[in-house]
Symmetry: C2
Subunit: 152 residues, 2 copies
Protein backbone atom coordinates (compact mmCIF):
# COMPACT_ATOMS: atom_id res chain seq x y z
CA UNK A 1 0.00 0.00 0.00
CA UNK A 2 1.37 3.39 -0.97
CA UNK A 3 -0.06 6.90 -0.99
CA UNK A 4 -1.54 6.62 -4.50
CA UNK A 5 -3.22 3.33 -3.73
CA UNK A 6 -4.63 4.82 -0.57
CA UNK A 7 -6.02 7.84 -2.40
CA UNK A 8 -7.58 5.52 -4.97
CA UNK A 9 -9.18 3.53 -2.21
CA UNK A 10 -10.68 6.75 -0.87
CA UNK A 11 -12.07 7.60 -4.30
CA UNK A 12 -13.45 4.08 -4.78
CA UNK A 13 -15.29 4.32 -1.51
CA UNK A 14 -16.83 7.62 -2.51
CA UNK A 15 -14.68 9.95 -0.42
CA UNK A 16 -13.30 13.12 -1.89
CA UNK A 17 -9.77 14.01 -2.75
CA UNK A 18 -8.45 16.85 -0.61
CA UNK A 19 -4.94 18.22 -0.26
CA UNK A 20 -5.05 17.68 3.48
CA UNK A 21 -5.85 14.01 3.08
CA UNK A 22 -3.09 13.61 0.57
CA UNK A 23 -0.57 15.34 2.81
CA UNK A 24 -1.61 13.34 5.85
CA UNK A 25 -1.09 10.12 3.92
CA UNK A 26 2.20 11.36 2.55
CA UNK A 27 3.34 12.12 6.08
CA UNK A 28 2.50 8.63 7.31
CA UNK A 29 4.13 7.12 4.26
CA UNK A 30 7.34 9.11 4.79
CA UNK A 31 7.56 8.53 8.53
CA UNK A 32 6.53 4.88 8.74
CA UNK A 33 6.14 5.03 12.50
CA UNK A 34 3.37 5.57 15.01
CA UNK A 35 2.20 9.17 15.17
CA UNK A 36 -0.36 10.82 17.44
CA UNK A 37 -2.88 13.41 16.30
CA UNK A 38 -0.75 16.20 17.68
CA UNK A 39 2.28 14.99 15.69
CA UNK A 40 0.21 15.25 12.53
CA UNK A 41 -0.92 18.74 13.45
CA UNK A 42 2.66 19.78 14.12
CA UNK A 43 3.90 18.38 10.82
CA UNK A 44 1.22 20.03 8.69
CA UNK A 45 0.88 23.20 10.71
CA UNK A 46 3.23 25.26 8.55
CA UNK A 47 1.48 24.42 5.32
CA UNK A 48 -2.10 24.63 6.63
CA UNK A 49 -2.19 27.42 9.10
CA UNK A 50 -5.65 26.88 10.54
CA UNK A 51 -5.69 23.07 10.37
CA UNK A 52 -8.07 21.81 13.01
CA UNK A 53 -7.83 18.77 15.25
CA UNK A 54 -11.26 17.76 14.12
CA UNK A 55 -10.07 17.31 10.57
CA UNK A 56 -7.13 15.25 11.73
CA UNK A 57 -9.13 12.98 14.00
CA UNK A 58 -11.88 12.54 11.44
CA UNK A 59 -9.43 11.52 8.75
CA UNK A 60 -7.40 9.32 11.07
CA UNK A 61 -10.45 7.26 11.90
CA UNK A 62 -11.61 7.21 8.30
CA UNK A 63 -8.21 5.92 7.16
CA UNK A 64 -8.23 3.33 9.90
CA UNK A 65 -11.71 2.10 8.95
CA UNK A 66 -10.56 1.69 5.37
CA UNK A 67 -7.47 -0.25 6.45
CA UNK A 68 -5.09 2.43 5.22
CA UNK A 69 -3.72 3.07 8.69
CA UNK A 70 -3.37 0.78 11.66
CA UNK A 71 -3.96 2.07 15.15
CA UNK A 72 -2.78 1.30 18.64
CA UNK A 73 -3.11 2.90 22.00
CA UNK A 74 0.01 3.82 23.88
CA UNK A 75 0.34 5.84 27.02
CA UNK A 76 -3.21 7.13 26.90
CA UNK A 77 -2.94 8.29 23.32
CA UNK A 78 -4.21 6.82 20.09
CA UNK A 79 -1.38 6.38 17.63
CA UNK A 80 -1.45 5.52 13.96
CA UNK A 81 0.93 4.23 11.33
CA UNK A 82 0.73 3.44 7.66
CA UNK A 83 -0.55 -0.07 7.18
CA UNK A 84 2.47 -2.21 6.40
CA UNK A 85 0.73 -4.50 3.93
CA UNK A 86 -2.80 -5.71 3.78
CA UNK A 87 -1.86 -9.26 2.91
CA UNK A 88 -0.07 -10.63 5.92
CA UNK A 89 -0.86 -10.53 9.60
CA UNK A 90 1.99 -9.26 11.71
CA UNK A 91 3.02 -7.54 14.93
CA UNK A 92 5.53 -4.89 15.91
CA UNK A 93 8.40 -3.94 18.08
CA UNK A 94 7.64 -0.32 19.00
CA UNK A 95 10.09 2.33 20.14
CA UNK A 96 8.63 4.08 23.16
CA UNK A 97 10.48 7.28 22.33
CA UNK A 98 9.90 7.89 18.65
CA UNK A 99 7.22 5.37 17.68
CA UNK A 100 9.43 3.71 15.08
CA UNK A 101 8.59 0.05 14.49
CA UNK A 102 10.07 -3.20 13.33
CA UNK A 103 8.09 -6.19 12.13
CA UNK A 104 7.58 -9.36 14.04
CA UNK A 105 6.50 -11.97 11.55
CA UNK A 106 5.40 -14.53 14.08
CA UNK A 107 2.05 -14.38 15.77
CA UNK A 108 1.50 -16.01 19.17
CA UNK A 109 -1.92 -17.19 17.98
CA UNK A 110 -0.26 -19.40 15.36
CA UNK A 111 1.65 -21.96 17.37
CA UNK A 112 -0.57 -22.14 20.40
CA UNK A 113 -4.19 -21.56 19.48
CA UNK A 114 -5.81 -19.90 22.45
CA UNK A 115 -8.89 -21.67 23.58
CA UNK A 116 -10.91 -21.44 26.70
CA UNK A 117 -14.26 -23.07 27.30
CA UNK A 118 -17.09 -20.69 26.50
CA UNK A 119 -14.86 -17.76 25.65
CA UNK A 120 -15.44 -16.34 22.19
CA UNK A 121 -12.19 -14.88 20.87
CA UNK A 122 -12.52 -11.95 18.50
CA UNK A 123 -9.08 -10.36 18.48
CA UNK A 124 -5.71 -10.00 20.08
CA UNK A 125 -2.84 -7.63 20.61
CA UNK A 126 0.83 -8.47 20.75
CA UNK A 127 3.32 -5.64 20.95
CA UNK A 128 6.93 -5.56 22.09
CA UNK A 129 8.17 -2.31 23.57
CA UNK A 130 11.63 -0.88 23.85
CA UNK A 131 14.00 1.59 22.29
CA UNK A 132 15.27 1.69 18.73
CA UNK A 133 18.97 2.02 18.02
CA UNK A 134 19.01 5.82 17.82
CA UNK A 135 16.78 6.47 20.82
CA UNK A 136 18.67 3.84 22.82
CA UNK A 137 21.98 5.55 22.13
CA UNK A 138 20.50 8.90 23.05
CA UNK A 139 19.39 7.47 26.37
CA UNK A 140 22.89 6.09 27.06
CA UNK A 141 24.44 9.46 26.36
CA UNK A 142 22.06 11.13 28.76
CA UNK A 143 22.98 8.60 31.46
CA UNK A 144 26.67 9.26 30.91
CA UNK A 145 26.10 13.00 31.13
CA UNK A 146 24.24 12.53 34.41
CA UNK A 147 27.17 10.61 35.90
CA UNK A 148 29.61 13.34 34.89
CA UNK A 149 27.49 16.01 36.54
CA UNK A 150 25.78 14.13 39.36
CA UNK A 151 24.35 17.17 41.13
CA UNK A 152 22.07 19.74 39.57
Amino acid sequence: MNVDQAMNKLKEEGYKHTDKRLDMLQLFSDESRYLAAKDVLEALHDKYNGLSFDTIYRNLSLFTELGILEATELDGEKKFRFSCSTDHHHHHLICLDCGKTKHIHECPMDHSPIYSEGFKVIGHKFEVYGYCEECGKLKEDIEKAKKTIPEN
Copy 2:
Protein backbone atom coordinates in the same frame (compact mmCIF):
# COMPACT_ATOMS: atom_id res chain seq x y z
CA MET B 1 -1.96 -12.59 47.08
CA ASN B 2 -5.10 -11.88 49.07
CA VAL B 3 -6.51 -8.79 50.75
CA ASP B 4 -4.71 -9.36 54.07
CA GLN B 5 -1.37 -9.90 52.39
CA ALA B 6 -1.93 -6.74 50.37
CA MET B 7 -2.75 -4.70 53.48
CA ASN B 8 0.38 -6.07 55.16
CA LYS B 9 2.44 -5.07 52.18
CA LEU B 10 1.06 -1.55 52.51
CA LYS B 11 2.00 -1.44 56.17
CA GLU B 12 5.47 -2.81 55.49
CA GLU B 13 6.07 -0.09 52.96
CA GLY B 14 5.04 2.56 55.44
CA TYR B 15 1.60 3.34 54.08
CA LYS B 16 -1.32 3.80 56.39
CA HIS B 17 -4.29 1.56 56.93
CA THR B 18 -7.53 3.22 55.84
CA ASP B 19 -10.98 1.77 55.45
CA LYS B 20 -11.14 2.99 51.88
CA ARG B 21 -7.98 1.15 50.93
CA LEU B 22 -9.27 -2.00 52.55
CA ASP B 23 -12.58 -1.78 50.77
CA MET B 24 -10.97 -1.07 47.44
CA LEU B 25 -8.80 -4.14 47.78
CA GLN B 26 -11.75 -6.21 48.92
CA LEU B 27 -13.66 -5.11 45.84
CA PHE B 28 -10.85 -6.15 43.51
CA SER B 29 -10.46 -9.41 45.36
CA ASP B 30 -14.18 -10.20 45.10
CA GLU B 31 -14.55 -9.22 41.47
CA SER B 32 -11.34 -10.64 40.01
CA ARG B 33 -11.78 -8.78 36.75
CA TYR B 34 -10.63 -5.53 35.19
CA LEU B 35 -12.30 -2.47 36.70
CA ALA B 36 -12.02 1.19 35.77
CA ALA B 37 -11.86 4.03 38.27
CA LYS B 38 -15.50 4.81 37.76
CA ASP B 39 -16.46 1.20 38.53
CA VAL B 40 -14.67 1.53 41.85
CA LEU B 41 -16.43 4.79 42.61
CA GLU B 42 -19.77 3.24 41.77
CA ALA B 43 -19.15 0.22 43.97
CA LEU B 44 -18.05 2.21 47.01
CA HIS B 45 -20.33 5.16 46.51
CA ASP B 46 -23.03 3.94 48.85
CA LYS B 47 -20.70 3.34 51.75
CA TYR B 48 -18.52 6.44 51.28
CA ASN B 49 -20.78 9.18 50.16
CA GLY B 50 -18.21 11.80 49.26
CA LEU B 51 -15.51 9.46 47.94
CA SER B 52 -13.36 11.40 45.52
CA PHE B 53 -11.81 10.28 42.26
CA ASP B 54 -8.51 11.58 43.49
CA THR B 55 -8.48 9.04 46.28
CA ILE B 56 -9.35 6.25 43.90
CA TYR B 57 -6.78 7.14 41.27
CA ARG B 58 -4.08 7.75 43.89
CA ASN B 59 -4.67 4.36 45.47
CA LEU B 60 -4.97 2.56 42.16
CA SER B 61 -1.53 3.75 41.12
CA LEU B 62 -0.10 3.05 44.56
CA PHE B 63 -1.43 -0.51 44.48
CA THR B 64 -0.07 -0.96 40.99
CA GLU B 65 3.38 0.30 41.97
CA LEU B 66 3.45 -2.19 44.83
CA GLY B 67 2.42 -5.04 42.54
CA ILE B 68 -0.90 -5.54 44.28
CA LEU B 69 -2.88 -4.69 41.16
CA GLU B 70 -2.04 -5.13 37.52
CA ALA B 71 -3.09 -2.53 34.98
CA THR B 72 -3.94 -2.41 31.33
CA GLU B 73 -5.37 0.15 28.98
CA LEU B 74 -8.50 -0.67 27.11
CA ASP B 75 -10.67 1.59 25.03
CA GLY B 76 -9.06 4.77 26.31
CA GLU B 77 -9.46 3.80 29.95
CA LYS B 78 -7.00 2.50 32.49
CA LYS B 79 -8.28 -0.72 34.00
CA PHE B 80 -7.04 -2.65 36.99
CA ARG B 81 -7.37 -6.13 38.42
CA PHE B 82 -6.08 -7.94 41.45
CA SER B 83 -2.68 -9.37 40.72
CA CYS B 84 -3.17 -13.06 40.00
CA SER B 85 0.02 -14.22 41.58
CA THR B 86 3.37 -12.58 41.92
CA ASP B 87 5.33 -15.69 41.06
CA HIS B 88 4.57 -16.52 37.47
CA HIS B 89 4.43 -14.45 34.34
CA HIS B 90 1.17 -14.79 32.44
CA HIS B 91 -1.29 -13.20 30.05
CA HIS B 92 -5.07 -12.92 29.79
CA LEU B 93 -8.11 -13.47 27.71
CA ILE B 94 -10.23 -10.42 28.48
CA CYS B 95 -13.99 -10.05 28.08
CA LEU B 96 -14.67 -6.77 26.33
CA ASP B 97 -18.03 -6.45 28.03
CA CYS B 98 -17.45 -7.18 31.69
CA GLY B 99 -13.65 -7.23 32.00
CA LYS B 100 -13.61 -10.80 33.29
CA THR B 101 -10.39 -12.65 32.52
CA LYS B 102 -8.96 -16.11 31.98
CA HIS B 103 -5.31 -17.02 32.22
CA ILE B 104 -3.07 -17.79 29.30
CA HIS B 105 -0.09 -19.61 30.69
CA GLU B 106 2.02 -19.38 27.59
CA CYS B 107 3.99 -16.30 26.73
CA PRO B 108 4.91 -15.52 23.12
CA MET B 109 8.32 -14.34 24.30
CA ASP B 110 9.15 -17.85 25.48
CA HIS B 111 9.23 -19.93 22.31
CA SER B 112 10.40 -17.30 19.90
CA PRO B 113 12.70 -14.82 21.55
CA ILE B 114 12.18 -11.50 19.82
CA TYR B 115 15.38 -9.99 18.64
CA SER B 116 16.07 -7.19 16.25
CA GLU B 117 19.44 -5.59 15.62
CA GLY B 118 19.92 -2.53 17.79
CA PHE B 119 16.48 -2.65 19.35
CA LYS B 120 16.51 -2.79 23.14
CA VAL B 121 13.46 -4.70 24.37
CA ILE B 122 12.05 -3.65 27.74
CA GLY B 123 8.56 -5.08 27.82
CA HIS B 124 5.67 -6.57 25.94
CA LYS B 125 1.93 -6.91 25.93
CA PHE B 126 -0.10 -9.89 24.83
CA GLU B 127 -3.84 -9.83 25.35
CA VAL B 128 -6.63 -11.79 23.73
CA TYR B 129 -10.00 -10.11 23.48
CA GLY B 130 -13.48 -11.54 23.20
CA TYR B 131 -16.58 -12.32 25.16
CA CYS B 132 -16.92 -14.56 28.17
CA GLU B 133 -19.61 -17.20 28.30
CA GLU B 134 -22.24 -15.03 30.00
CA CYS B 135 -21.65 -11.91 27.94
CA GLY B 136 -21.48 -14.00 24.76
CA LYS B 137 -24.89 -15.54 25.50
CA LEU B 138 -26.32 -12.13 26.24
CA LYS B 139 -25.12 -10.90 22.86
CA GLU B 140 -26.70 -13.86 21.08
CA ASP B 141 -30.01 -13.22 22.79
CA ILE B 142 -29.92 -9.60 21.69
CA GLU B 143 -29.26 -10.71 18.09
CA LYS B 144 -32.20 -13.10 18.22
CA ALA B 145 -34.44 -10.38 19.60
CA LYS B 146 -33.39 -8.05 16.77
CA LYS B 147 -34.32 -10.66 14.17
CA THR B 148 -37.73 -11.12 15.75
CA ILE B 149 -38.41 -7.40 15.66
CA PRO B 150 -36.41 -6.21 12.67
CA GLU B 151 -37.86 -2.69 12.54
CA ASN B 152 -37.74 -0.22 15.37
